[in-house]
Amino acid sequence: MLNQVNQYSLELKDVSCAFATHGIEDSYIAVKDISLQIKEGEFVSIVGPTGCGKSTLLNVAAGLLEPSKGQILSFDKPLKGINSRAGYMFQSDALMPWCNARDNVAMGLKFRKFSAKELNEMTEEWLRRVGMNGFGDRYPHQLSGGMRKRIALAQTLALDPDIILMDEPFSALDIQTRQLMENEVLALCSGNATKPGKSILFITHDLDEAIAMSDRVLILSAGPGSKIIGEFNIDLPKPRDVAEIRNQPRFYELYQAIWTLLRNEVLKSYELQKQANKYNGPGV
C-alpha cells in the first residue's frame, strides 16, 4: 500500500521543449524546466496566456511529442512512445469524417481487439451516456459542434483511460453548450465508492472554466521558456455545477487571486506579440 501513496498518474520532471525555427539560428524554447504531478483522480488545469506552450506540455504528456530534456513518468513508469493509459481530447475536430458517429466511438475499441459483441454493447452504451443514442448513423459533418464534442468524449472515454488530457476541448462551443459539456465531463469522470475518478490534465485559457472544474490550477508564464509561476488549490465543494458555482464568494476570491497573477503574464505576452508584429508587419 505504501507505494501507492507515492504513485502519480502522471509526473513531468524538468521537462523542456525546444523547437527548431526555420531561418533563425536559435531554437525556440516553448517550455522550460517544468515539473508537475497529477495524483490519481485529480483534476488539474493549466492556464496561461496564448502561445505559452500549454498544448506542447499536453502533447509531451500524451507521448506524441518527445521533450528536448526531462522525463515523463506515467504510473511510475518512464513513458516510451504513446501514453497508452491516456486519452486525449483535441481542441479541433479529430473525429474521422469518413466514419459515422457509431464507428467513431467504436474506433478505439476496434484497435484494441474487443469481440464484436462487446464492441457493439460498449459503443451503444457510450452513445447513450453522452446522450447521442439515435445519432449513431450520422456522419460528423451532419452533427453540430456540440454533438461532435460529445462523440469525441465518448470515443475517448470508451477506452476507459486512467488519464485524460484535454486541450481546450470546448473552446469552440457557445457558452450554454459549453457549461453542459463541462458538467457532463465532471459527471462522467468523477469517481465513486468502487472506482477512483479519472486523472485529468486540462488546458484552457478560460479562468472561469479552470476554477469551476479543477482541484488544482497551475499558472504558466508567458512564452518563450514558460514556467509554472503559480499553483492554487481549488477548495470549492464537490460535486459541482459549473454554472452555479460561479456565484459562490469563494469562487470570486480564487478568481481574483489567480487573475492578479495571470494578468501580468497576459500583458507581457501581448506586449511581446505587439513587438513581434512591429518587426514582421501586422499579424494576421
Binding site: 506524441l64 486525449y88 474521422m96
Partner: protein, 262 residues
C-alpha cells in the same frame, strides 16, 4: 428524386442544342465535297445501326477495346494506389525516387507504344500496358498528395486511441486517400480509353481503334465518325459508373446543400 422545373428546361435546351448541331452538320454535308471530309449524319447513323443491330460485327471489336480499357483501369489504379501509399508513407524513398518519377511523368508516354508492341506483341497486352502508363501516374500523384495531406489531428487522435501502423493505414490513410483517388478516377477512365484506342490504332488486329484505322484506309469518313461516337458513348457510360460508385463510397463527404425535402 423529382426533377425540378429548372432541370427539365436544362435538359430540353441541351437536347435542342444537340439536334441543332446535327442539323447544321446535315445541311453542311449536302455538298458532296464537304461530305467527303465531314461525313453525313444519316449515313453515320445507319452505319451504327448496321454495326449494332444488323450485322452485329462491332461487338467483338468493342469487347476487345473495353476489355483493354478495364484491365488498364483496374491494374493502373490499383498499382497507382499502392505505389502512392508506399511513397507517401516513406518520405525517404520518395526523395530518392523523386527525379525518376518526374522524368517518367513528363515523358510523352504515347511514344512507348511501339516498344510495348515489341515487348508484348500485337495482342491486347501491348495496349493494356500503354493505357496503364497513362492511368498509373494520375492515380499515383493523387494518392501521394492525399497521404501527405492527412489531417495531423486525426492522425494523432488515431494514435492516441491505440492504432498501430497497420491500423493507421487501414482506418486513416486509406479512407483519407479514397477521396483523392476518386477525384482522379474520372480522368483515369478517360485516359484508359485513350491508351487502349491509340494502342489499337498503332498496330492491332481487333478493337474499335483498328476499325477506325481500317475505315480511314479506305477514306470511309462515315465509319470513322461512327467509331468515334461509339467510343464516346462507352466512355460516358464508364464515367457514369465511376460516378455511381463514388457516390456510394464517399457518402460521408458533406455536400454543398445539406437540407432534404420533407
Amino acid at each position: 428524386m423529382k426533377l425540378s422545373r429548372l432541370n427539365i428546361y436544362l435538359r430540353l435546351f441541351q437536347l435542342l442544342l444537340l439536334l441543332a448541331l446535327i442539323a447544321i452538320w446535315h445541311i453542311a454535308s449536302r455538298s458532296i465535297q464537304a461530305a467527303f471530309f465531314i461525313g453525313e449524319p444519316l449515313i453515320v447513323f445507319s452505319r451504327l445501326v448496321d454495326w449494332l443491330y444488323i450485322e452485329c460485327d462491332v461487338y467483338i471489336h468493342l469487347g476487345v477495346t473495353l476489355l483493354e480499357t478495364l484491365l488498364a483501369f483496374v491494374i493502373g489504379t490499383t498499382s497507382g494506389l499502392l505505389f502512392g501509399l508506399w511513397l507517401g508513407l516513406s518520405p525517404r524513398t520518395a526523395l530518392v525516387l523523386d527525379p525518376f518519377i518526374k522524368a517518367i511523368n513528363s515523358m510523352p508516354r504515347v511514344i512507348l507504344a511501339p516498344i510495348f508492341c515489341v515487348w508484348f506483341g500485337l495482342g491486347i497486352w501491348s495496349k493494356v500496358a500503354l493505357a496503364i502508363t497513362l492511368v498509373f501516374f494520375i492515380v499515383f500523384f493523387n494518392v501521394y498528395q492525399g497521404v501527405k495531406e492527412v489531417s495531423p489531428v486525426i492522425l494523432a487522435n488515431a494514435k492516441m486511441l491505440g492504432a498501430n501502423s497497420r491500423q493507421l493505414l487501414r482506418y486513416v490513410y486509406l479512407p483519407s486517400a479514397t477521396s483523392w483517388v476518386f477525384s482522379s478516377l474520372h480522368t483515369a477512365v478517360g485516359l484508359a480509353f485513350v491508351g487502349a484506342v491509340v494502342g489499337e490504332y498503332l498496330g492491332s488486329a481487333r478493337g474499335v481503334g483498328y476499325l477506325i484505322l481500317q475505315a480511314e484506309g479506305t477514306f470511309d469518313i462515315n465509319s470513322v465518325i461512327a467509331g468515334i461516337i461509339l467510343l464516346t458513348i462507352c466512355a460516358l457510360i464508364l464515367d457514369g459508373l465511376v460516378g455511381v460508385v463514388e457516390k456510394k463510397l464517399l457518402i460521408w463527404q458533406p455536400k454543398l446543400s445539406q437540407t432534404e425535402k420533407i
